[in-house]
């Protein structure tokens, strides 16, 4: 008498288990974003290699000169092109932006960061959105990945907006306001309102431009 299952039966059990795992994975992939939105959770994607929110617990001003090496930013950047002078160029601000002179910086996707805003420069304004401001009333969108991550995400959002991919557009005189669904997490919602909701993830980018000049950009849910 043989109590061991036959090789065919073992293969059958293995393939049934494989199918079950595949069904569970598919269900998770489908349901996780909805659960995140509904309950404000931050369930990771199955292929998510991102780190959690980089929460700064203080409303600290950060320097626009804080930089990450060009290599780091190049590895991160799907939009960096040799035409933008990214490869091997240590002079790029945040490893991504070309200095046009007169405090103007050009991103690989064609966005310009110039003087302006309460902070004195649009880059410093964007940098506000790389750390939480827990005591700020209302919402405060925070990008993942610090300044290089924020600039990269904004560039990707602009590319998607230009290609009309999951983007809503509002034209208000010279200003264009894009809301771009990035399809996956790009940051989280902070501020007092975000804190009350346990800092839900953000997967959209709100991008306000005048021509190709960035006025503001921040993650939103």
């Amino acid at each position: 008498m043989n109590s061991h299952p036959s090789p065919q039966k073992r293969r059958g059990k293995k393939s049934a288990a494989g199918i079950a795992v595949a069904i569970l994975a598919a269900a998770y992939t489908f349901l996780a974003p909805a659960a995140n939105e509904r309950f404000g959770w931050n369930l990771p994607e199955l292929n998510d290699r991102q780190q959690g929110p980089a929460v700064a617990q203080a409303d600290t001003a950060v320097s626009a000169d804080a930089s990450v090496s060009a290599d780091t930013a190049r590895r991160r950047s799907p939009t960096a092109t040799p035409e933008a002078g990214v490869d091997g160029d240590p002079n790029l601000k945040f490893g991504l932006l070309r200095d046009l002179g007169g405090e103007r910086y050009l991103s690989p996707a064609g966005l310009q960061y110039t003087r302006g805003s309460a902070e004195g420069h649009r880059l410093k304004h964007v940098e506000r959105h790389t750390a939480d401001q827990p005591s700020r009333p209302g919402k405060h969108g925070v990008f993942d990945g610090g300044m290089p991550g924020a600039l990269e995400t904004i560039d990707r959002a602009y590319e998607r907006a230009k290609n009309k991919q999951r983007t809503t557009v509002k034209q208000d005189r010279d200003r264009t306001i894009y809301t771009v669904d990035m399809g996956s997490r790009v940051g989280f919602v902070g501020g007092q309102s975000g804190r009350r909701q346990r800092n839900p993830m953000a997967r959209r980018v709100q991008l306000v431009l005048e021509d190709n000049r960035v006025i503001t950009a921040y993650p939103t849910n």
Binding site: G120, G141, R175, I177, Q206, E210, I215, Y218
Partner: protein, 143 residues
């Protein structure tokens, strides 16, 4: 820095605070002309400088997209300023580092807008005790 007191969230960009800003405040130079014995200035006077002054006035500005209202009703017409050289639409002073700042309670009362702000959107620096706390305690003298 976030606005101290805001009218609403921004109806244009959705993420900004429509904060009350007071502009046209007397400069140190003008204060010196008005009260020349006040330290740290001396007694020199140039009355023509005073004539160039504009009375303090209120603006509502979104701290994200910089939409500007001249009235504390954000359903009214808004305007924009030059993004690279933002100026007050009334006195043309620099919008962010001129003789202006986010208004405090006393300044909002001076503008007559005290019932127009939303206490839920009050900014309490360093405070996490919940919205609205400090709304009545952030008084300050009109500079």
């Amino acid at each position: 820095m976030s606005p101290l007191h805001s009218i609403s969230s921004c109806p244009i960009c959705g993420g900004g605070l429509c904060g009350v800003r007071i502009c046209g405040l007397p400069s140190a130079r003008t204060r010196q002309l008005i009260a020349p014995t006040d330290p740290p200035f001396g007694g020199e006077a140039a009355p023509s400088d005073i004539d160039r002054g504009v009375a303090p006035h209120g603006l509502v500005i979104c701290d994200e997209c910089e939409a500007i209202w001249l009235d504390p009703d954000t359903s009214t017409e808004h305007q924009y300023t030059d993004p690279e050289d933002p100026r007050c639409p009334i006195c043309r002073d620099r919008l962010w580092n001129g003789n202006n700042h986010w208004a405090n309670v006393a300044e909002i009362a001076f503008l007559g807008w005290e019932n127009k702000t939303d206490p839920e959107l009050d900014f309490v620096p360093g405070g996490l005790d919940g919205p609205g706390s400090g709304h009545l305690n952030m008084g300050g003298e009109i500079v």
